[in-house]
């Protein structure tokens, strides 16, 4: 029968992706609207805040500012102007640095990307393994201990964990270096990705790699703590949902060893809900970076957001929020794709 195949390039799947993409775009427009509404809510005159003391006295500058942002036009037009700016990448100007927010962001994004990716990798590897272990040893001592630990993980304020970890592992034990991404005096490898570890490996500069990795480990670990707890719990319940299903029993009846049954059949079936947590995990990491980067002196967008928040640099705050939200919905879209890859039943829906 032709048309059987439900492979990855099949029509149903492509249509599924198309729908998801459309939803992504709509959502993107929606969040710009939210950001716009929030900027409108800010009390006070944006010109005064943005231009600083001297410029405010100059009527020409104020007028130019007003025109650029369409401040003297009705609201819907202002929104259109706002959107227009966004499309060209203009996120306004930071009140602190007096640079375009966009430049600030592009400077800080690679550092956070390195941190986020490492943290998520740690969280998934550790979380899924512990979750499987916990499910397979259900209700025995290992499971009890892991459940308490994972509960602890999701109950901990990340900023507090960062403080304590830094104090213990750096200040008292000296196991890891303190702030920054590299030891003082060490220069990063030639810029390819902006991720110091990758760039160092690409350039073959292993001493730089080691230094970067050493600085990475504590912040990435702290950021991963919440997600490890989350993933352990999710994996555990996903595996438990599946482990008594008939097809698992049928796999055993085929004479496959238990390890194959668990790792191939059970995990495969439990994967879809675990994957959907991936999006959430990303959001948690983003949340964490805002709280934690400044503690570790990590020059990323989290630290940028933190400083913007404490100094009430509104364009910067809005710019970061918008940026992170856009990345988040793209990540969710990728998660959706992955979900369709793993679970063929979705491809028809």
């Amino acid at each position: 029968m032709p048309g059987w195949q439900l492979g990855l390039l099949s029509r149903p799947f492509v249509r599924f992706l198309g729908r998801r993409l459309a939803a992504l775009v709509l959502l993107g427009i929606g969040i710009t609207f939210v950001a716009f509404v929030l900027t409108e809510l800010v009390p006070g005159d944006p010109a005064a805040a943005n231009l600083g003391q001297r410029a405010i006295a100059d009527p020409a500058a104020v007028q130019a500012f007003r025109e650029h942002y369409g401040l003297d036009k009705p609201l819907p037009v202002q929104y259109a102007v706002y959107l227009e700016h966004l499309v060209t990448g203009d996120l306004g100007q930071s009140e602190q640095s007096h640079r375009p927010v966009r430049s600030d962001l592009s400077e800080f994004v690679p550092a956070t990307a390195e941190l986020a990716v490492t943290s998520i990798l740690i969280a998934f590897v550790l979380g899924i393994s512990l979750g499987i272990l916990s499910a397979v040893r259900r209700n025995r001592l290992t499971d009890q201990v892991l459940r308490v630990i994972s509960l602890g993980g999701i109950s901990m304020p990340t900023f507090w964990l960062a403080l304590v970890a830094l104090y213990v592992f750096f200040f008292k034990l000296g196991w890891v270096p303190g702030s920054g991404r590299l030891d003082p005096g060490v220069l990063p490898a030639p810029h390819v990705t902006g991720l110091y570890t990758i760039d160092a490996l690409l350039a073959g500069q292993f001493d730089v790699f080691v230094s970067a990795a050493q600085h990475l480990i504590l912040p990435a670990g702290v950021l991963a703590a919440y997600n490890v707890g989350l993933l352990t719990r999710f994996t555990r319940s996903a595996v438990l949902e599946v482990i008594n299903n008939d097809y698992v029993q049928a796999a055993r009846a085929k004479g496959l060893p238990e390890r194959t049954v668990v790792l191939r059949h059970v995990l495969r079936a439990a994967l879809p809900p675990i994957i959907t947590v991936g999006g959430l995990a990303f959001a948690n990491v983003m949340t964490g970076t805002v709280l934690v980067e400044s503690i570790f002196g990590w020059p990323g967008i989290g630290q940028y957001a933190f400083h913007s928040a404490t100094t009430l640099d509104l364009p910067a705050i809005m710019g970061v929020s918008l940026f992170v939200a856009v990345v988040y919905i793209v990540v969710n879209f990728l998660v959706d794709i992955l979900y369709g890859v793993v679970d063929p039943r979705i491809r028809v829906a």
């Binding site: 029968m1 195949q5 029993q249 085929k254 004479g255």
Partner: protein
């Protein structure tokens, strides 16, 4: 008796529950001959599924098993883990009741057909794939090549069950255990599955343990019929014999409860009063006595033994009220 493919003696299974260990299977004996379709009938709670799961070592942790199950010279109940893995799928195959849930929803048909074949028989990718195509053709799946790349949810219930049968028979086992294979399917599809099983059996000398509560299915395909109630065998014999001349009151009651297609209008439906006991709450003596029309005092206290009552029939009822003189 040693010519039997499978010889089970004194099988007892106790499962862990909140109230401690509960005896689910309470001393079961039967033999399955080569090339035979062996029917195991009974309601839920009778222990028929647990009995066969015990044979394959698929019981939950904490289960206790006693007795012997001789299969090809090996006692299945005493095998170590490695040997059990060799038996499962390769010498004994199993088909489960609901093909909707017994096939992995996220693996292709090819994968599900070939993974154990490659594991047990060491075939390479191409050989395994060829084998899979053969199997699908045997179970009459149209377009085997296309079906290999498809997923279970793309097939109808009947086709899924055929695929499940193909999977169970992939390594050419000597014994196939089919646990309610047609119960989850439409009546119209059932006949096709039964015909398929019968055909496969005749072709290759396969033995089949057919578990079902449906006596109609039994009559059409089973050579031998064993009836279980509350964890024990109550009657067994050649299927046409048992169904036309039942000797245990339970068997007779089951048959009487079947609606007769040619009955006169308004004939009341007969049912057996009471319900089958749960494993925790089995009555003393003969477990059927509270519902039996022929029970005497001794039935409340004495557990009846399964005895030979001539001409390959076995019966666990000392009262034997339905005995038809020869």
């Amino acid at each position: 008796m040693s010519s039997a493919l499978l010889s089970v003696e004194g099988l007892q299974v106790r499962l862990p529950t909140t109230a401690g260990l509960v005896t689910v299977v309470d001393g079961v004996d039967f033999e399955v001959e080569r090339g035979q379709v062996f029917g195991l009938a009974g309601e839920s709670g009778s222990g028929k599924t647990i009995s066969v799961l015990a044979l394959l070592g698929l019981l939950p942790d904490g289960a206790q098993v006693e007795g012997t199950a001789m299969f090809e010279g090996k006692d299945l109940l005493r095998l170590g883990r490695r040997s059990l893995l060799d038996i499962r799928g390769r010498e004994i195959g199993m088909v489960f009741q609901d093909p909707q849930t017994s096939l992995h929803p996220m693996m292709t048909i090819e994968r599900q057909l070939t993974e154990h074949v490659r594991y047990h028989l060491g075939l390479n990718h191409a050989q395994a794939r060829a084998r899979a195509m053969e199997l699908l053709a045997e179970v009459r799946i149209p377009d085997p090549a296309g079906a290999l790349g498809a997923y279970p949810h793309q097939f109808s219930g009947g086709m899924r069950q055929r695929i499940a049968i193909a999977i169970a028979l992939a390594c050419r086992p000597r014994l196939l255990i089919a646990d309610e294979p047609t119960t989850a399917l439409d009546v119209t599809v059932q006949a096709g599955i039964l015909r398929l099983l019968d055909g496969l059996r005749r072709q290759s000398g396969l033995s089949v343990i057919m578990i079902t509560h449906d006596l109609g299915v039994m009559s059409s395909i089973a050579d031998w019929l064993t009836v279980m109630y509350a964890g024990r065998v109550v009657e067994s014999g050649p299927t046409p014999e048992v169904l036309s001349r039942p000797r245990h009151p339970y068997t007779a009651a089951l048959l009487a409860a079947l609606p007769h297609p040619e009955a006169v209008e308004d004939t009341p439906l007969i049912s057996i009063s009471g319900t089958p006991p749960s494993p925790q709450a089995r009555p003393g003596g003969c477990a059927f006595h509270p519902r039996c029309a022929y029970a005497v005092d001794a039935c409340k206290t004495d557990v009846p033994d399964l005895l030979e009552v001539g001409d390959r029939r076995r019966l666990a009822c000392p009262v034997d009220p339905l005995m038809v003189p020869a």
